[in-house]
Each structure stands twice: as C-alpha cells, then as structure tokens.
C-alpha cells in the first residue's frame, strides 16, 4: 500500500513549500513539546511531593483529646479529659497484632520563651516527649548520636535529641554536642543525638529540625502530668484499614473514659491516609491541568495543520483534478492527503518528543546537581508509557488534521481541472 512512490509523492508535496510546511509543523511540534515538558514536570512534582513524604508511615494515625461535647454518666459536657498510660496499654494489648509502631507523645511546656539554654546561648524551640517508635512513624535522619531508646523511657532519663537548627543556634561549629548539657524548660538534659527531618512535607508536631525530643516518660514526670498521654501515635501493618481501626480505638477510649459513644468531639484523630489522599488528589489535579493545557496547545497546532492543508488542497484543485482524470480513485486522493497530514504531524511530533525529553533531562541534571528543598520538583522525566501515549495522540491528531482537507479534496472532481482555465 505504501511503496517508495507514495512516500516520494508525499515528501515532494511537503518539501515543495518548505517554509509553509515548517511553520505548520511547528504548531504541532510546539504542542507536543509543551505536552511532554509539562507531563515531565507533572511527574517531577509528583516525585518532589512524594520524596518528601515517602518515608513517613503511610498507614498511621495520631489520636488526641478534646473537650467532651455531650453530657454522659453524670458528667457535664465540656469536660476536659486526658488519655492515660492505662489507655495506652489497653490499646497496645488489644491491637497487638495490628500495631507496627506505637508512641506516646507529650507536648512540652510552651509558655516560656528562650526555653532552651546552652551556657551563654539560648533560643525558643518546641519540646516534645516521644517513644523510640516515633522515629519509625515519622523518621528523622540522625546526624550525630542516637534517638531515644527503651531504657531512656523506662528509666525516665533526662536525655534529649536536638534538631539540626537547634544545634546550629546553640553550638559553635566543631563543638562537641553529644554528651553536652542543655537546659530544657529549666531542667538539664544530656544531648544524645542531633537529627534532621526526612519527610519535608509532613510536619506533625512542628519542624523536627527546630525541636528538642525527649523521652515522653521523662516529660510526664518533669511536667507533673502523672501518667497522662497527650497524644498516641501509631502505625498499623499495611493490611489494616487505618480509618476503621481509628474508629474502633475511639470507641474503646470513649468506653474507658466515661464519654458518650456518640460524642464526636472528645476523641480527635487524623490519619496519614487522609494526607496521602490529599497529596494524591493534588497530584491528580496538577496532572489534569497539565494534560488539559498540553492537549489544548496540541489542538491549536492540529487546527493549524488542518487549516494549512485546506488552503493547500484548494491550491491543488487543478492538480488533484488532473490526477482524477488520469484515473486516481477517491481512495488514492484521500490516502495522499491523509498521508501528508500524518507525515507532517508525526515528524513534527517526534521532533517535539525528542526535544521535550532532552530539555527534561537537562532540567533533571540541573536539579540533581543543585537540590533545593524549596522546589517540590525532582527527576522530571516522562515514562515510556507517556511517550507512547504522546505518540498515539500525535497519530490520532494527524488523522484528525487530515480529515477535513481530505474531505475537501474528495469533493474535487476531474472536471474542476478543466473549468479552471
């Protein structure tokens, strides 16, 4: 069907008016180029966002308390209550198989400014009490030393892990940090580690780099909280539906603390699934936007091709008429116009893909060599699947662009060639 002659015919007509073909092809080229680059950026944004959260336990929940909203068993509404260690242990016992990591959380006193003091240097940073497991739920990268361990918890040791920025503010460069003493809310703690955040895009209790983390049992004691627990953070095994488990634990907590089962305010929780869902929705939204704009740009290019082909067909009325008189069937004419449109769009489209991918890989290299924490963009590349999709879109575009001109060409009868004298 497509022999050398056909190709020669097509190539001849395309190259006959080089400037016009070039400008026409540029519309498609640009559309595809934009589509590829933007799709690449979509992937890059996805990487950027997901790189910032992917170390975070995706199947985890954080539970904390609020005032009750319903009177129950003689208690008035508006009661302030707290979870206790017995609640913590009850949950731990009941969901022993489901729970992967579990941490009690105590909020440090925030009423004092410049609460962290190191000889003549001081600063205001948040203080948080955690279990060792917390470092698995929301991991940090240890730059020096270690995180809180079980013995710290058990012995209520006065040890602390400080964030990178805390260390930068209170210590001179090169100064020994591990083992030094730090006054935290009026009590001296030994620094056992320096950490920095990994999951940049999820900050549950504030920025880990501006935080002083201590064993939550120590904080319970120093702040006179008794066996209260301000928040319970837990990560479930991946097979567990965290939202369902969250509801069950809420019911359990309400039952244990004389709270109405229908009270929707007393136990608060948020799970990371919600956050991940939100990120996913965001990424889907960005991608939808990218494809709408990209395909729109491409459509403009296709309309351009179609338009120019229409003009070309009109100009070639005499030629097409002669061909018809010499025995070219409508199908041959249709094939020729369609092929011209296809060749033009496919060549332009492949050019667009090639340049788009090249530009993306240059950007990718630049980003890889100078990582910036503020740009949620990393490794903007298009997958093979997207490239194939783009190619299919180009093919369909070519057919679409050729459709109207071909229809116009089919209306040309051989007799028109004679009339045009």
């Amino acid at each position: 069907m497509f022999d050398l002659d056909t190709w020669q015919e097509i190539w001849l007509t395309i190259t006959r008016n080089k400037m016009r073909s070039l400008l026409t092809a540029f519309g498609v080229f640009w559309g595809v180029f934009m589509l590829v680059v933007m799709a690449g950026f979509g992937v890059g944004i996805k990487h950027g966002i997901m790189d910032g959260v992917d170390h975070f336990e995706a199947n985890s929940t954080f539970m904390f308390t609020d005032r009750t909203s319903e009177p129950y068993k003689g208690f008035q509404r508006g009661r302030i209550w707290n979870m206790t260690m017995s609640d913590y242990e009850a949950i731990q016992a009941q969901y022993a198989h489901e729970i992967k990591y579990m941490s009690g959380v105590i909020f440090g006193d925030r009423s004092v400014t410049n609460n962290i003091v190191r000889s003549d240097k001081y600063g205001s940073f948040s203080v948080m009490g955690f279990s060792p497991d917390y470092d698995h739920i929301n991991p940090s990268r240890m730059l020096q030393g270690r995180f809180i361990n079980d013995i710290d918890i058990k012995e209520r040791r006065k040890v602390c892990v400080i964030g990178k920025r805390v260390a930068n503010d209170l210590y001179a460069p090169g100064e020994t940090i591990i083992g030094s003493l730090l006054r935290v809310n009026g009590i001296y703690y030994t620094v056992i580690g320096v950490n920095e955040a990994i999951s940049q895009n999820i900050r549950v209790f504030g920025d880990a780099e501006e935080m002083v983390s201590v064993p939550f049992t120590t904080l319970q004691q120093t702040q006179n909280c008794g066996d209260e627990v301000h928040c319970i953070a837990l990560a479930a095994n991946s097979s567990v539906n965290i939202a369902e488990m969250e509801e069950e634990i809420k019911t359990l907590l309400k039952a244990r603390n004389n709270i109405s089962p229908t009270d929707s305010q007393a136990v608060q929780a948020f799970n990371t699934k919600q956050i991940f869902d939100m990120f996913n929705a965001l990424i889907i939204g960005i991608n939808a936007l990218i494809w709408i704009v990209g395909l729109g740009t491409l459509l403009a290019g296709i309309v351009g091709v179609s338009n120019i082909m229409l003009v070309t067909v009109r100009e070639r009325t005499q030629e097409i008429g002669v061909r018809r008189a010499l025995g070219a069937s409508p199908w041959v004419i249709l094939k020729q116009i369609m092929s011209e449109s296809l060749v033009l769009t496919v060549l332009a489209g492949i050019g667009g893909i090639v340049l788009g991918v090249s530009v993306l890989s240059v950007i990718s290299n630049i980003l890889a060599n100078s990582p910036s924490e503020n740009i949620p963009l990393s490794n903007p590349q298009i997958s093979f699947g997207i490239a194939i999709a783009a190619l299919i879109i180009i093919l369909i575009s070519g057919l679409f662009a050729g459709w109207l001109p071909s229809k116009r060409a089919l209306q040309i009868k051989a007799i028109d060639a004679l009339r045009d004298e």
């Binding site: 002669v322 061909r323 010499l326 069937s329 409508p330 041959v332 089919l410 004679l418």
Partner: protein, 228 residues
C-alpha cells in the same frame, strides 16, 4: 465505440434559472475513428466531451462506451474506466507542474499499479517517440507550449486507451505548433488505432479529421464527412 442516445444535460444555476445545455444528442463514433466537434462557445460541445470522458454526468438518455452502459458509476468505478479506456489532452496541457516530463507521462501507469522501473521505461519510450527524450527530466515550466502538449499526448497514450478526448488541443498554440500536434494526433490515431475525438474552434484543425460534427445550441446541427 461511442454510442449516445438522446443525451440531455441541464445545469441548475439556481432555483429559478436552469441552463439546458444538451438537448438530446444522438451520436455514434466507430472504433478507430478520427472525429472533431465544432461549435460556438456555449454550444455544449465541451459538456458533451466531459460526459463522454465520464468527467460529468448526464440527466437523461444513455451513453455506451465500448458496449458498456456508463450510468450511475461510483467515483472509483469511473476512475477505473477513465484510467483504462480514456486518455485526455487539454487546451491548457494540465501537466502537474512540480513533476518532470517523465513523471507526468508515467502518472496514469502509477495509478494502474505498474512498477516504477517499468513505467519509467515506458514513459521514456513514448517521450522518445514524440521527440522529447532529451527533455524527460525537465519540468513543464521549462518547456514550450508545443513540447508541453506533446508531453500531454504521451501521457494520454501511455496507458493504451481506446479513446482519446482532446479539448481544444491546439487552442494555446501557434499555427506551426498546432500543425505538429495535429500530425502527432493523426499519427497516434493511425498507428495505435486509438479513437480520437477533438473539440476545436479552428476550422483548419477540424478539416484534418475524418468527420466534423457541428454543434449548435445543444444539438448536432450537421455532420460533415471529410473522407472522400
């Protein structure tokens, strides 16, 4: 070869204004004949040529080409019949201007599916026959009117049609070149036994054919036999 029975053709210019161009044409052209059609502008002679060439349709009557009724053919069918049976020579040559003389001549064979080498060889042969071998790779724009018309004739005869329709083949040529073209057409008619139908204004052109069909107001007014 050609058998026309009561052919009518009307062009509807608009709803209230119709142009009755052919008002019942009866005509027979025998195989191998060399016939000219003469008439004033608007007498319908070109329309008749178009109908015979299956470039246009007719409203009434019947047209047999080589025994086959030509009626309600699809575009594809008529393209096939044209390619197989009919060669065209036009007043304005109608060569494809971005193709060389050789490619122009080979075009009908291309649509017939003849291989590239074979059709180019054949095209060169026909160009040689018409004295244009050295011009094979020139574009029409580089050739004179007479040369272009000879290329067009080569193109018309390469597919070995049974019938050649020539619409004012000498209309754009000076008298000397006209005579050359007419000599070629007569030669083709005699040597290749191709039926030749020529529409012309020029009496001296018509007189070189075997038969002159005079047209007037959509009807054949008289037929002159030139062969004594």
């Amino acid at each position: 070869m050609i058998h026309l029975e009561n052919i009518h053709k009307t062009y509807n210019l608009n709803t209230s204004n119709a142009l009755h161009v052919l008002k019942g044409i009866n005509l027979d052209v025998a195989d191998g004949d060399f016939v000219s059609i003469m008439g004033a502008s608007g007498s319908g002679k070109s329309t008749l040529l178009n109908i015979i060439g299956i470039l246009d349709t007719y409203d009434e009557g019947s047209y047999y080409l080589d025994g086959q009724l030509i009626q309600n053919l699809t575009e594809t069918e008529s393209a096939k019949v044209r390619n197989k049976m009919i060669g065209f020579v036009f007043q304005s040559f109608n060569l494809i201007n971005f193709k060389t003389a050789l490619e122009n001549v080979a075009l009908p064979l291309y649509y017939r599916g003849v291989s590239r080498k074979k059709r180019n060889d054949m095209a060169l042969g026909y160009l040689d026959k018409l004295g244009l071998k050295d011009w094979a790779n020139y574009l029409p724009s580089e050739m004179s009117g007479g040369q272009k018309q000879r290329v067009a004739i080569a193109r018309a005869i390469i597919a070995k049609p049974r019938l050649i329709l020539a619409d004012e083949p000498t209309g754009a040529l000076d008298s000397k070149t006209s005579q050359e073209v007419m000599d070629i057409l007569r030669q083709v008619n005699e040597e290749e036994k191709i039926t030749m139908l020529i529409v012309t204004h020029a009496r001296e052109v018509a007189e070189q054919t075997h038969q002159i069909i005079n047209f007037k107001d959509g009807l054949i007014s008289s037929i002159e036999n030139m062969r004594q």
